[in-house]
Amino acid sequence: MSLTTSCFSEYKDIVQEGDLVLIWISRDQIKPVKMDSEASFNTRYGTFPHKDMIGKKYGSQIAIRTKGTNRFAFVHVLQPTPELWTLSLPHRTQIVYTPDSSYIMQRLNCGPNSRVIEAGTGSGSFSHAFARSVKKLFTFEFHQVRFEQAMQEFKEHGLLDENVTITHRDVCADGFTIKSGDTTSFDLTNVQNVDLNANAVFLDLPAPWEAIHHLDSVIAKGEKVGVCCFSPCIEQVDKTLESLEKNGWTNIEMVEIQGRRYESRRQMVRTLDDALERLKDIKRRKLAGMERRKRQLEGLKTEEEKQDQNNGQPVTEKTQFNPFGKGERVKEGDPNYQWKEVTKIESEIKSHTSYLTFAFKITDKTRVEESK
């Protein structure tokens, strides 16, 4: 079934049989699912039959009553985008996250004219973002298992039919040229050599400096070509700078991207006056208690206390005055209290992803004569 082929490149209106959709359970739980009217999607809250999703508009909330407790439970059915896809990946995988990938694309001026080399493919999340915007993406992965996984995934996502070529290759050893005999998704039936002609390069390799000299033969001539090397350690940057300089790349600049996500929260407004009122209440009750004990010792009771005793409600049991509720048990945003809107950074941040080293090169500066 080839209905899924377009899910990353075409805007879809209605969820159809065979579609790859992302089911949003929560921010941390987004699951890719292929629509199959016979199948169901199980969560801890209950079961969502696919046929409740098929025929609905993308973005629809799908609601059920939970088994047993009979409560309202729901998911949202979304069309995949590279960014949502990245969020859906398990966190243990090495992923180039959106703050980095979007900056790299912008800085390398990625758009409909771009012919991009990516090495290595890794989890493939960045490949999706590239594929959305560029003319051609040539991605290389040296790890056999990851290569096969990525190729399968790209096929299912329809990327190979569009503008993506994936090749199994150790680019440090063997460079970027794609030729017959290679393990690649490129159809080499009628070609000997593929003209990569790349004008943007992204190297996410442990030793990019071993690959840089291979670039000269595959990048576009007579135009400005950009490269970005993605390395976690500063010593890698140093070696990369050395190699870039030696190979004639210029405008070399290393940057770091720091992406932060904020949660919108509320903090209870607790005024000084309320705090004072509460202390006064405590003091009053304390004094009343002392006097009561004193009177009890002296065998005396006020009329009120006698009444209270008749009602079986001793004064000491009266509810305490507390304008702030019972501490943590007040739900954030409870309309009985006043709230101040605050932002809270995620409790664990990605303080470092990698250093991004950019450089540019014009391989052939020959002048072209005006033709018009």
Binding site: K67, Y103, N109, A129, E223, R261, R266, E341, T357, K365
Partner: protein, 442 residues
Amino acid sequence: MDPLTKICADQYVVMRLPSDNCKLVELKVDSSVSLGKFGAFNVNDILGYPLGTKFEICYDEDTAAEPIPTSGKFKNKIPIGRIRVLDDSTLIEEEKLNNFDSSENNQDLINMGSDIQKLTSDEIEELKKQSVSGNEIISKIIESHGNFHKKTVYSQEKYLKRKKQKFDKIFTVDYLSSSALLQYLIDKSDIQRIMDMSQESLGMLLNLANVRSNGTYLCMDETGGLLVYFLLERMFGGLNDSTDTGKIVVLHENEHPNLDLLKFSNYSEKFINEHVITVSLLEFFEPPTMEEVEQRFAPLKKEQLYELKSGKKNTYYRKLKWYHNQLEIMKVTNEIEYDALIVASTLQLTSLIPKLGEKVHGSRPIVCYSQFKETLLELSHQLYSDLRFLAPTIFETRCRPYQSIRGRLHPVMTMRGGGGYLMWCQRVLPASEPEVTNNIEV
């Protein structure tokens, strides 16, 4: 010739000068461009080279042939120099600093405030007239500097950089990408006008909004067209003959839209009119009805049109244009479910976004840029309690550039502080609460 890769005539390009300042220049054939103290050159001399090429302006015997007026109207006119393409390898050699002695520290430098320079400024002026390149001037200046060898390599670098910025006659001609335009506006210190935007925030906005060549986007842009420029670059890459179908509907809060910055782009007016539709907020929220429009004007049939006198014909076409405009307003207001809502506006977002968000297709992103986190905080709280919007999230992204010189690597010491924030959420379609009996077991 490809205006995306080569320096072409009638194109706007960005020129970077030794002072690190940028200049936007429209390249008119047969004209010259003056870079002030960095010299002047003929446009024809640079056409046809790849965009990104670095040039040096040279003044030698040949150019000296052109007399420099010492008085009269052209007294201060910068003489036009010869153009030399700079080779990358030369550049790298020149940028290095291995030829001078240096001190481990500044200990021997007693007078910290000013440098001991034996050349008078008149002598330097004389050098400028004689020398072929800025590099030679700088070498001479260093030779004449009493304490240069007593400086640390750090101080020497600082000194050299200052001098290079003053005497080098080098410039780069680059493609006016969206990032280059942004950088130009930042350098011009027009930060407030462009809402303190940064390259990293806009790059992230484009990706979060899932911008593609074939989408129809609803947009508010309070920066004079910078945001739209970014969208167009990402969608069409400066290709004037692009066959992609993407469209941007730009809402504006004034009588007329302001997309002035688009004049710097490579797109023809026709192309822009085809892909960028501007509508005022009033027209968008209170569009005319078909009835109202037809009351005021109804297009004639072909036969009727033939019968019109030429005088009346002009009036007719003016009205016809108005009529089509009204139809378009009705269409963008009533018929389109947008593929993204992208907003950079200082209007109160809590009153704006829920209403605009209504027009977005399910499962499509809403991205809102703001200079201030606080306005997005308010917005995200409101969207959070509205079932039509899924998981509003506030993002901040900051790029931290390094002094990327081997052996002296460190983040730059000072940089601009701002860059703005993004709110991202997905438009969704709430379901009605299902009946208890609807509980399906599988």
